[in-house]
Structure formats: C-alpha cells, structure tokens
C-alpha cells in the first residue's frame, strides 16, 4: 500500500545536535495525523523535513510517493502548508493576501476568483475580505492563514501548531474545519502541543526528544498506556466483603487501584479495573460481583495528558 507520507529511519542533525532520531512513520490518505509532543520535541523539524524545506541527515522520506527534495512545482501544488504564526502581509487586505497565495499556486484569474470566495466563506472571513490583515483579530489571522493553505485545494495539508495561543472555542472551530477537509478526502498532518487534541485525530504520533514514542489511534495509545481499558466501579455495603469482590474481579481483569472512602456516613470503595476490552468485559465484571453492592459502573477515558505521561515513563524505563 502506498502511503501519503512514509519515513524510514529518518534522522536530522543540526551540527552536533540530533533533533530527529531514526523515525519510522506512515500516514495514510484521507486521515488526520496528529504529531504530538512538548516544545523542542522536534515536531517542526519533522514537518519541515516532510515539506522539503529541510533535507534529512539520514534515512528516507517519501511524500506523495516522491522524495520532497526532488519535488517539482507541480508536486508542490498538491501540498498545502500552514505555518505556526501569521506570515502573510498585514498591509494587504484579507482578499489581497488570499489572491496572492492563490497566485503562488498558479490558479488562473477565474479559478482564483472563485476559490478565493469559496475559501473565505469556508473560514468565515468573506465579510471581512476588505479589511487589512493588520485590522483583524489574531484568530481571524490564523483562519486567513488556513485559507491561504487550502485555497488551491491541496491533497496533503501540513499544519504546524494551528491552535497555539487560541481560545478553546476557536480551537474547536479549527478542528471542525480540519474534519471537513478530511471529509473532502484530504490528508492532514497536524502538529500540536495540546495533548487533548490528540483525541481529535485519526492517528497520533507521540514525539519526545526526537524519538517517536508511540504511533496509533487515540484508543490504541490509551490501551497501550494502560495495558487495556479501565472500568471504574464504586462498591458499597460491608467493607469486609471488599476482599472477596476484589478476588472475583481479578479473574476478569487486573485491579489497578482501590481507594476506600470512610469519611462519608456510608463507606464506599472505588475500584479501577484494567480489562482488555471494556465492552466485552463489562457483563463479566457485573457477574463476578454477584451479591456485592455495586453503586456505579463507569468506563472512563483517561486524559491524553495521562496517556502521554505513562507512555513517556514506559519509554524511559525501557531505555
């Protein structure tokens, strides 16, 4: 199967500093791939290597089945790029800026005219088209930058930290727009330092210290971080029976955490059980607790902060 993006043992050095260390990565057509990691992890370097702005020190890179270093202008028309900051021209109007970028991608006058309008409407900036870029808000500038990246309808869109410093409402809107683009069949490669945004991607790569710690769907990563799924139970009744209940639960999964609450009038216990698959394991859990007072059963999804932390810890222990 031909991937939209494929790297093999990709490494990048700046002098003595090794920024990327032997990355093996694939991104399929039509998916949103999120590259997540803390500042300085090497996300922008990887993205710049994939766009052909930087050349790799070692390894191989293929984007749209070609090495980025041998991209022709025709190949580049298939790419879109949204840099971290607003890099367009503040002295130009919203429409002039978009006209300019559409021209860079070789759109003729009529097509440009149509696409500029469609794109500005898509990012909800059509009403502000005559305003100078300097006179619109930071959020609008980021949307204008996104419009500049998609005005030529690229197959593959590279987006570098699109939601950095944006408020949660705007961040959500951006992700809605990314999903709409994916629904149009485009592939998105998105870097972000917001771990929570991993949830919004089809597949996620965790990058730390230039190493790809883990790659997979958000669920896969969660399972990998916790060795399965969590089932959270609150048990009431006689605390003396708790031991019996735990023994029964051990037969279905692994008890990860037990916390007793003795401060309330009625003593309760919180039990977190790790199972392979929550959906299939849940009936068995309830069956094994026959006779015990089950106050509540929940299948919580641990935050990606926690997932990331566990995976990082796991990796460092392995190393």
């Amino acid at each position: 199967m031909a991937y939209t993006i494929e790297t093999r043992n990709l490494a990048k050095r700046f002098g003595d500093e090794q920024v990327l260390k032997g990355l093996d990565l694939t991104v399929s057509r039509g998916e949103i791939f999120g590259l997540i990691g803390p500042s300085g992890a090497g996300k922008s370097t990887l993205l710049r290597t994939l766009t052909g702005y930087l050349t790799p020190s070692e390894g191989e890179v293929e984007v749209l089945e070609k090495s980025p270093s041998s991209f022709t202008p025709k190949d580049r028309r298939r790419l879109g790029f949204m840099p971290q900051g607003f890099v367009l021209y503040e002295e130009l109007s919203v429409r002039q800026n978009l006209n300019f970028t559409a021209g860079l991608y070789g759109l003729n006058f009529w097509k440009r005219r149509r696409r500029v309008r469609e794109t500005l409407e898509f990012v909800e900036l059509w009403e502000h088209r005559r305003k100078k870029a300097a006179d619109i808000s930071g959020g609008m500038q980021r949307r204008l930058q996104l419009a500049a990246a998609i005005v030529h309808e690229p197959e593959l869109l590279f987006v570098d930290e699109p939601t950095a410093n944006l408020d949660p409402i705007l961040r959500r809107r951006f992700w809605e727009e990314f999903r709409r683009l994916r629904e149009e069949g485009r592939t998105l490669f998105v870097t972000t330092q917001y771990l929570g945004e991993a949830e919004l991607c089809d597949r996620v790569g965790l990058l730390s210290g230039g190493t790809l710690v883990a790659v997979g769907t958000p669920e896969e990563l969660r399972r990998r971080a916790f060795d399965g799924e969590l089932v959270q139970l609150i048990l009431g009744g006689d605390p003396g029976q708790l031991g019996t209940s735990l023994e029964a639960l051990e037969k279905v999964g692994r008890v990860a955490e037990v916390r007793q609450n003795e401060q309330s009038e009625e003593a309760t216990s919180l039990v977190r059980l790790l199972v392979e698959d929550a959906e299939t394991a849940l009936p068995k859990v309830l069956e094994s607790l026959n006779g015990a007072e089950v106050r509540s059963v929940d299948v919580p999804k641990p935050s990606f902060d926690e997932v990331f932390f566990r995976l990082m810890k796991e990796t460092s222990e392995t190393v």
């Binding site: 052909g52 930087l54 050349t55 890099v87």
Partner: protein
Amino acid sequence: MKIGAVAAKEFWGIVRQPQLLLLLLVGPVLIMVIFGLSLDVQSILQPRAIVVVEPESEGAELFEQYRYKFTDRTDFVGTTDDLDSAQQQLQRGEVDAVITMPSDPLESVARGEQAVMEVIYSTINPVFGTAVPRRSYGLLLSLNQSIVQEGITRNIGDVRSAQEQIDELNRQFENVDAAAEALASEEAQEETAELDESLAELEESLETLEDAPGETGDEASTTLEQVRETRELLEEVRAAQEAGAEEIKDQTGASELERTLADLQSSLAELPADASPQVLANPFRLEVENLAIPPGIVGFYTPGVLALLIQHIAVSLASLSVIRERLGGAYEFFEVSPLGAGELLAGKFLTYFGLVLGSNLAVAAVLTVFLGIPITGGVLTMALAMALVTGASLGIGFLVSALARSQLQAVQVSMLLLIASVLFAGFLFPLGDMKGPATGISYFLPAAYGIRSLQDIMLRGEGLSYFDLAGLLVIAAGCLALTRYLLGRKKT
C-alpha cells in the same frame, strides 16, 4: 531604574549581534582609511598634461630648456608631435590637458609679437575643473618670467663686456693716434735725418777699418753689417714719416677697426628702442579652450544626485524585502509552495524596478522643467542609463538581503554603500583623481557608472559608453544570479 532597564536591554541587544557591530564600527573606519589612501590631492591640483611640440623646432628647444617647469606644474604625461592623437587622449580621459608649444617663438618675438601657447581641456566640473586653466596661467607666468630674466641677464653681461672692451680699445687707439702724430712731426723727421747722417758717417769709417788685419778688421766688419741693417729700418720710418699719421694708421689696420667699433656702438644703442615692452616682458601668451560646456553648480551635481538616489532607494528597498520575509516566516511558506527562488526574485525585481525607475524619472523631469537642468544626450538614453543603474542597484540590494541576518544589518549596509558611493563613485571627487583601493571599489558601485553616464548624457550630450553599459549589466546579472543561488539553496 526603568530607563536603565530599557537602556541595558537595547545595549545587550546590539552587543549580541557581532556582525552588526562589525558593520557599525569597522565599516565607517574602513571607508575613511580607504578614502585617505585613495584620494590623490596632488592629482586634483596637478592635471595630467601632454605637450605637443614640433620636433627640432625652436619651440622644441625652448621646451627642453624649460621642461622642468612643465613637469613641476603638471602631472606630465609626455610629448608628442601629433595634436590629433593628443586630443583623442583628452577625449578618452587619459589626460586632462593638451599644451601646444609654438614652433617659432623667438621669431614671433623678433617680429614684435607674443608667441602663443595653446591649452585645451575638457571638463564640466565647476569645482575641480578650474585646475587646468589655473595651472596653465601659473606655467605661463613662470615661463615668461624665466625667459625674460635669462634674456636680461645674458644681454646685460654681453653689453657690459663689449662696452668695456670698446673702452679699452678706444684708449689704445688714443695712444696709437698720439704715437702716429708724434712720429709724423717735423722734429721727429729732423731727428731721424740726423740719425741717418750719423749712421752714414759711421758706415764710412767702418769700411776703412774693415780691411785692417787681425781681430780689428773682423769686429769692424760685424759692426758694419749691423749699421747697414739699422739704416734700412730707418729708411722705412722716414718714408712713413713723410706719408703722414693717417697712412701710419691705415697701414696698421687700426682705422678699419675703429670704424667697426663705431658701427657696433651705434647698433647697441639702437636695439632696445625698437622692441615692444609688452612682448619683451611677456614673450608668451596663453590661449585656453574648454571643449566641454560646464553647467552651473546645481546642474553639475544633478546627475550625481540622481544616480545616488536611484542606488540608495533601490538597495534599501531590495535589501529589506527578502530579509523581512525570511525573518517573518513568509519565506518558509514560499519554500513549500511551487514558487521558485528565481520567480520570487523576478517578481520583486519587476515591482521595485518600475517603482524606483518611475519615481526617479519623475524627479529628473521636475529638475529639468523647474531648474532647467539639460538633457542634451536625449531622454531615452538617460532613461536607459537610469534603468541600468536601477537594475544593478537592485541586484546588490537583493544580494545584501540574502546575506544579512537582520533588517538592521541590511539598513547599515545600505548606509555604508551610500557613504562609499559619495566618496568613491565620483560624486564629490572626480574618479580620475582616485587611486588604489577606491578605484577597485568604484567598479562595484552602480552609482560610479551612473554618475559618469548621466553626466555624459545630460551635460556633455554624449551617449552611454560600452564600458558603463557592460559594467552595470555585469553587476546586475552577477548579483541576481548569486542571490538566486543563495535563496535556492536547500537548508541543511
């Protein structure tokens, strides 16, 4: 405290940019050092001159006699007998002046006319262009002074010497006259006659004794011989005495000499009375001709200001353009797009080219209309020269932009280029009066070609020289190609 914090922040911000510091400190110092090494003040004061002389003529002799005056007062290039080739050298700018020596200066003076020394030069520079006529007049004055001084010294000596000799001869002639008069007197004639008689008696007596035997006869014979010789000489004296004093002087040649001396005295007395005092005091006069028509001070500096304006605006705009986008992140956006480095450069070039050329053509039009600055070589030729200067300056600006690390660096380089152009491109000081490193630097300054071209076209009515055309094209093409290469390089 707050001001101190701001000041400290600004200070460290600058100190942590070593390249900027280098430009701020070393750049101006370097320019002034080069300026000091390159400005040839002597060259400004002493124009390069070639002297035209007719071989083996009086003028050539006189030139050789006073050659040191030419070499002292000019940057003497040499002599030639071909006026046309000397003028061509002048037109090519290889010499600043052509001095033509008259072929027969002394004959002119003898005719009572001043000999004419012709000087031609060609300059439109109203500031430094006066060196040729100024030095020529200095040379003329010195030449006249020396010739007159030497003439007077020699003549006075000759006259004095001749006069003394004549006086001596006259004294001697007075003695000769007296002697001749004395010899011709009656008294002298009587005494001579008496002496002759006494000698005749002695001769008879000695003839008698001559036959005596022994030593007496021999002695008498010898004495007799002496007496006879004396009588023969005395006979000549008596003959002269009988002829008179005049005959005595004629025979000795004294009369003829006396007449000659009288003629000489008369000639010496007559000579100064015929010569004109003007010619005697100034045997040479000067005819100076400037082949170019110098404009006023504003007119002269207008082409230079235009060339400097074009260069500075173009370099400033271009040097800031790429660096601004590189630092702002737009350049990375371009790198991912299909836009090639050459296309980016061409797009920028077209806009700036039109903007800079258009605005400066408008400035030239305003200057022409309101200040009456001439464009004698034609508007189209001027526009072509301005277009070439604009292209070359944009090339340099883009190259600066590709190399600079910050906008401040780019601005600083633009300023240094402007200062260098004012000093080394022929704006303040003629390029021909520069030597050493400044000459080399001027080859890389579009303003140097621009100032020369625009002065030629606007003020001299000439066309654009092939040298300037080629120079500007090479700078533009070289810088743009290098910038294209630098911008197109893959980041490693």
